[in-house]
Symmetry: D2
Subunit: 309 residues, 4 copies
């Protein structure tokens, strides 16, 4: 239990009336320095999905990520005008990507409730033309800290992944940590493995065609899991599903988990992580680094999160 968690379930005002970074404020130099001492093997995990048109999860309205050539090796004499010989040239691309497909990070401007975002910032501060004038992804800068991986697939003894709309609560998280023998410390980053993305990639559960909002279901955190975050002052959460929270349960309010975590608590979320290799290695604690692109005003960013075991 965090010594500082006297707040009543939200962190609005906790870091000042003008704060735009939420729980990331707790990743102080001391906390970061301690986290750099966590690695034991030096093995590095890149937790991002490949970014390509096919074979990866995306919601249709966001469009598939697109790479198009801007400069290409077949272009004749690219740099002859600059004195370079004909046989020297370059390739470059243009990338078109939704901010919330693929492996990505939500800015605190991503979701609002009662038309209010984290720390009481009105939804209206996000304009279409300028984007988020507060709480944009460029306010993050970085996430660096100790992360704990809780492999709920192994915990439940599931075959590959949790069932469609399986909900993970605080007690499950605590029990999983105990089973794994990993201590959850104040200001840790939490990584939750449900197996969902591994099954997506293996195509035995979902294909792109049925990845529709209407009938999808994904395992994930219940709103009860917010208690776990409060007890440990969790600074950020990553998961291998589309929304961190469980999706598709009739009893849930849509986006309820985002409201509890992102809006009320200022906890940044990282989604569509690939956690299988870490889980296979039983690498349950790591130095974790997420570096979102500082797109001014954006509500999120594709990221390539790095874990060092």
């Amino acid at each position: 239990m965090s010594a500082t968690s006297s707040h009543t379930g939200t962190n609005w005002g906790r870091f000042g009336a003008d704060d735009e970074r939420g729980m990331l404020n707790l990743l102080t130099p001391e906390v970061v320095l301690q986290a750099t001492r966590v690695p034991k093997t030096g093995k590095v995990y890149s937790l991002a999905l490949p970014i390509q048109r096919a074979g990866v999860p995306y919601f249709d309205y966001r469009g598939a990520p697109t790479r198009l050539p801007l400069a290409h090796q077949s272009d004749p004499g690219q740099f002859v005008a600059y004195g370079a010989p004909e046989h020297v040239g370059a390739n470059e691309d243009v990338l078109i990507m939704a901010s919330h497909n693929e492996t990505h990070m939500d800015a605190l401007s991503h979701v609002f409730s009662e038309r209010t975002m984290y720390n009481g910032v009105p939804a209206e501060t996000v304009s279409a033309q300028a984007g988020a004038t507060k709480l944009g992804i460029e306010k993050v800068g970085w996430i660096v800290g100790r992360a704990v991986l809780l492999d709920m697939v192994r915990f439940y003894g599931a075959d590959q992944r949790l069932e469609g709309a399986a909900a993970i609560g605080s007690d499950d998280l605590e029990a999983c940590a105990r089973l794994q023998g990993v201590e959850v410390r104040d200001r840790d980053i939490l990584l939750v493995r449900t197996g969902w993305i591994d099954c997506f990639l293996a195509q035995d559960v979902h294909g792109p065609a049925d990845f529709a909002m209407a009938d999808y279901a994904q395992p994930g955190l219940s709103t009860d899991a917010a208690r776990f975050m409060d007890d440990h002052d969790i600074t950020a959460i990553g998961a291998d599903n589309s929304a961190v929270e469980v999706l598709g349960r009739p009893e849930d309010v849509f986006l309820g988990g985002h409201v509890e975590l992102l809006v009320k608590r200022g906890i940044h979320l990282v989604e569509h992580l690939m956690l299988k290799e870490m889980a296979d290695d039983e690498c349950y604690e790591c130095l974790f680094v997420v570096a979102p692109l500082p797109v001014v005003g954006a509500a999120g960013s594709p990221v390539n999160p790095i874990a060092i075991g």
Copy 2:
């Protein structure tokens, strides 16, 4: 001097005939683990430029980076169909970005000479539709290691930045390291500060209007600096200018530095870094993390490099 640098100036074949990662192969778990022990203060530096239309350097043919709203707080009843109340909603964006504007990383497929890329891979393996079938940015995964910052602005006693086409050679780099009292170790990552980007941002040297290929000049590494890389088995290079190498000297072959470093040696390059704060802090060694977006087939990626001092 590296005990393993018996090669004759290139690293083709050094890591196997099929290698696509070049000098990054030397960032073994042992090297990474040692690098995690480098931080002394825990202060984290995000070295990326803000990504926005105005006030940042970009070549006109690449276009300015663009953020456009995909879902917006003003959209009425976004999730009412899913049972959410009207007052709950989300913001999302679409990002359109060149791979080599802003702070970015070159893939080994970025440049070729004699129509050949690193490790003898033919330029023709990069197709327009599929992109780089070899040496694409998705082969990188990550850069994690100890980085040394050489602040050439301070070394030369320059006011803010080096002159237009000032060239930095191996002896300069060695002397700067000595002056700073920082040891350059085998397999280090090299960060070079020329002051160029700070002056760009302050608008006292270049404005977007005159950032044209025809008459631009930037300080940077001369091809002689490749000797420094060989002597220390430098695994990657970052700089605060547009091309790591010096630009605009009549005696240079255009892209000659890329050919020496990227093509011959398989050394990845990271450009448009913001290094002023590290330099001001005299933070000359750090744990350095770069996590390019794994865009399949891309010749580069925007990145947000992280240094932990």
Copy 3:
């Protein structure tokens, strides 16, 4: 004077409470059929600017139009999987364009005043995600009618173009028609030539670098010109400047011309037309065809207007 212009300066309600096409309603089959008999020479004019990055006018915040290859002749064996021989292939592109750069047409959803668009439609009916749910460009379908070209450059005896912020009123338009000996008929389309774009393209007045909102000035229609539209039931207006209306006069309300024409009268506007060749030919009446792309919800579309002399 139009026999039907008993309205008091606006056309709201004139075509029904639910109308979304404004004055285009007057282009009935009879009017169209008469217009098809206008051509005398059969010479066809394409009035669109080339769409390319350089040398064309665009506002910086809209970005330059971009063409990127999607399929390219250098791609190896493009259709071998479909049984085609290796030597057969295709080129295709992706186009990224602002709706209001280049030669384009404004939808009635483009501008609002008192937060209301044409026919009393509230501005709020345009959502970010769905676009214009009313008055979108897809409601246009087509403009086909008789157009009259008024060459104000010749009328004023100007050398190439009218001065910076020269304002054209109703009397000027009437006088110019008389001078040209061309009759303006009810339900005509009006084309106005100021010479602005010709000078832009010749770079002797504006270059892209100074095409900034702060200090620009363009010749065009004054709000007084609306009287001319009422008197003749003008169904659409095209001009060779950026906004049809005069820009840069201190005494004008910004977008005042759009409010008079587009918002109050439901007159569609076509901008950045190239009218010099028609003017040189003294082709003052034509069959005029504009076919905007029916992008659902868009506030405008790039177009290639066609005049048949």
Copy 4:
């Protein structure tokens, strides 16, 4: 039969060694002028599909067309800096579209055979960066002429559409024209209705999910239909399917119809036309106008073809 068709099945050289417009050269002012006298009712048909993400045909690798807001009514005080009141504002968009989805027109640079395009232009003249340096869509300018609609659905007595891979040859076209009582004249534009797109839109045959290259089949012209084009000097062809030519017959060479028509004959193709309303009206001849966007170097353009009956 055309008096001028002494050529041997191709039109290379027919309009000069440097020609880039192919059969459109035959649309002389005289031909255009005659075509303007064709309309009998003045009814105007917009033949383009709506451009939107859902419910329209597109090949997945091209991505769905995308409209994103660039300026939006919810942006606060858009033009206050220019002196406009707060209640005045504008909506604008950015459009991202493949050149060959939706209703579109092929440039002569779209397809090559024996690595050669129309008029002997080498495929290599299309660079990735500059696009088509010859035969690009901007060379078209316009198509204006008399078009004849042949409704093959009615001709065959089919219910809604022709069968999957039904092939239409020259004799079928001639017989259909006779049945319809419409004369095909030299230099006409040919419009062919197969019913394919109507069935696509009605979703009773194809949905986006099964619009895959592997198993698709579409009715269309056989290569034998080229004879009809030669006999009548057909200047352009439009159809309501994806490629004008029949798709999915084992005996055909992939893109064989494009090679015969576009490459050998320089006949521009317009695809994904909506022809049902014209057919229902038995409007078998019209004044036909296609105005592609003059995107410099592009291999095609989305279009909104206009027919005036």
